[in-house]
């Protein structure tokens, strides 16, 4: 007895393992179940509410073929302009365009329609769009409705489970993952024919302007687990250099900007000047990175505070705005009210949010490089959602998540189940629980805080070769203390692994930033030593783990033609 891997923990077997039961993970689960695969979703929380859209979403980007701006070609043309150097149009076509119609139908079917009760789509423009692509809708219950559908189709779940490492066979193929229960501590060994990583973007990586690390725009439970695990098994990652920042109400890093500017809210400085037109011809509806740059500069140059002014909105628009705000961030109306602000009479102060890693635009993110079938460069491993280089935001996570589920299930049905070696499992288990036995000379909170503060100074919205090399040296110095962090319980063990993941993403980010010797996407990658955008860098910096450490190479992308449907 007890000679096999079972001696180390609970062994679970599935066709498709989905790590992260957020928006992309649930759509993947639905698709994989429909193909007929056995599906297991593992998440640190419950699939009903976990992840970025826990409290809701309010907009879904789509073209609906009503006009010349409203076509697949126009969307891809815009994508190639706004995310040039990060988006791969062929893959965007596969993960979004080909899946869009089915996604809109699916949302109707599960009871979270994108339409207004009248049956019409309510569409607005923001963030540099060529037309009103943003469909406003009530996505407050999108998450529980997706979870219900995934469960109805037979998806199994492993909740309050933090996944820490991937399992591989002798040839480097991914054959499952390991993790632990964040309350009870039991060790899970999950054997899967294919694995989809869907753990979202990376947060808690840069200093938060309020000093509160969990006061983040995106979900602070997402700390780059997928990016780290994929990197460790040799997968290629891209767009890792980009720092994403947005504009949020001062004090509360809450989503809702699209609702405010989309409805016609004006961004003004202390003198009441609508300054965004100075920075971009689209003014308040400029791309997000331009809004951030405008807000930062007005404050830096002494023309702050900066506000959003909605006082001119009609009664009808104000009513629509108020409901939509609560759809996107459930507690934002409470915050505004508790500040004593009435949007009909008062200005709402705004600020630049904390930095995070989540790609340059509303269509593609930073992370695992995927192909047109959502496959990573490692066999058996797929990516979905914000942890990939080609999916981002509710629309692409919905369509692309679904494609990932379909593809992973299709391959799973042709693969056999494999077992990892006893040694591999034993070694991973030792590493996973090591913080339980550590000295405790350094606390996880202070370690993470130091890292955040340091990264913002040397690798944040302004960076150069020296600052990035300094950041890397400091990360190496800091890392020596990681083994001193003690986890007193399994919740703390989860946080400690999150800290490790953030550190690993930070290194990839610095290496990728060093390789992109130009400035692109404004403050999202501002190299003060290369202040111009250089068309030679119209492509991705790819990061890969090698025996000689982190290596980067350049992947040129083609924007000269729009791919065929």
């Amino acid at each position: 007895m007890g000679k096999g891997i079972e001696q180390f923990g609970e062994v679970l077997k599935t066709d498709v393992l989905i790590v992260g039961g957020g928006l992309a993970g649930n759509n993947a689960a639905i698709a994989a179940c429909e193909v007929g695969a056995k599906v297991l979703i593992a998440d640190k929380s419950s699939i009903e509410r976990c992840g970025a859209i826990a409290g809701g979403v309010d907009h879904f980007m789509a073209y609906l073929n009503t006009d010349t701006w409203d076509t697949r070609e126009a969307y891809l043309e815009w994508a190639g302009r706004i995310a040039r150097g990060a988006v791969n149009l062929k893959i965007q076509n596969a993960v979004f365009c080909r899946e869009l119609e089915a996604a809109i139908e699916r949302m109707d079917r599960i009871g979270c329609s994108l339409r207004q009760p009248s049956g019409e789509f309510y569409r607005t423009t923001s963030f540099g769009l060529p037309g009103p692509y943003m469909i406003n809708f009530n996505g407050k219950n999108l998450k529980p409705l997706l979870a219900k559908e995934a469960r109805r189709l037979g998806a199994m779940t492993l909740e309050k489970c933090s996944i820490t490492n991937l399992l591989t066979n002798g040839n480097g193929k991914v054959i499952g993952a390991v993790g632990f229960n964040i309350r009870k501590g039991n060790f899970y060994i999950i054997l899967a024919k294919t694995t989809i990583l869907a753990t979202g973007n990376t947060n808690r990586i840069f200093q938060n302007p309020t000093g509160l690390p969990f006061n983040t725009w995106q979900c602070p439970a997402n700390t780059g687990a997928a990016q780290t695990m994929a990197f460790e098994v040799g997968a290629h990652l891209a767009n890792m250099e980009i720092v994403r920042i947005t504009v949020v109400p001062r004090g509360f890093s809450a989503a809702g900007l699209n609702a405010l500017t989309g409805m016609g809210g004006k961004i003004v400085n202390a003198k009441g000047e609508e300054f965004m037109f100075k920075y971009h011809p689209m003014g308040n509806k400029a791309p997000r990175y331009k809004l951030v740059e405008g807000v930062m500069r007005e404050i830096e140059e002494g023309r702050g505070p900066v506000y959003i002014d909605c006082r001119h909105l009609s009664e009808g628009d104000m009513k629509h705005l108020k409901t939509t705000l609560g759809y996107d961030k459930d507690t934002l109306p409470d915050f505004i009210e508790q500040k004593g602000i009435d949007l009909r009479k008062d200005l709402l102060e705004i600020m630049a949010s904390e930095g995070m890693q989540a790609g340059p635009s509303e269509i593609c993110s930073s992370g695992i490089m995927i192909d047109e079938e959502t496959k990573s460069t490692v066999e058996g491993l797929f990516g979905a959602g914000d942890c990939t280089d080609q999916m981002r935001c509710s629309h692409v996570c919905t369509t692309g998540g679904y494609l990932a589920g379909k593809m992973a299930a299709k391959y799973a049905l042709t693969f056999t189940q494999e077992e990892p070696s006893v040694n591999q499992v034993k070694e991973l288990k030792r590493k996973v629980y090591a913080p339980m036995r550590a000295s405790g000379k350094v606390s996880q909170k202070s370690f993470e805080d130091t890292m955040r503060r340091m990264l913002w100074v040397y690798a944040g919205a302004s960076r150069n070769e020296y600052s990035l090399n300094t950041a890397l040296e400091k990360l190496d110095g800091l890392e020596k203390y990681f083994n001193e962090i003690k986890a007193g319980n399994y919740h703390e063990l989860m946080r400690t692994h999150e800290t490790r993941q953030i550190l690993s993403v930070a290194k990839m980010m610095c290496h990728a930033s060093l390789a992109r010797k130009e400035t692109r996407f404004g403050v999202f990658h501002r190299r003060t030593d290369y202040p111009e955008t250089n068309p030679e860098f119209d492509g991705q910096i790819v990061v890969v783990n090698t025996d000689q450490g982190i290596k980067t190479f350049f992947n040129k992308l083609d924007y000269s033609t729009i791919p065929e449907p």
């Binding site: 929380s45 409290g55 969990f214 507690t331």
Partner: protein, 68 residues
């Protein structure tokens, strides 16, 4: 600041513990009450309040967010 739970209204269903994306609320089986165990890690997403079947949860923002 974390959610405030009105224990007089709470029926002890445990949903807020199960649904919190950040593992902030832990249901104490011995005392039969939900406890806001990691208040500093609250994301203010509102999920606990949305899903509490009896409306026992309110979200209160502290001065560190309202007046920073």
């Amino acid at each position: 600041m974390p959610p405030v739970i009105d224990l007089d209204k709470c029926t002890g269903c445990g949903t807020c513990d199960a649904h919190c994306p950040l593992d902030v609320i832990h249901y104490n089986e011995k005392k039969n009450i939900p406890v806001v165990k990691y208040p500093d890690e609250c994301w203010h997403c509102g999920s606990c309040r949305l899903d509490c079947p009896v409306g026992a949860i309110t979200i209160k923002f502290g001065p560190e967010m309202l007046y920073v």
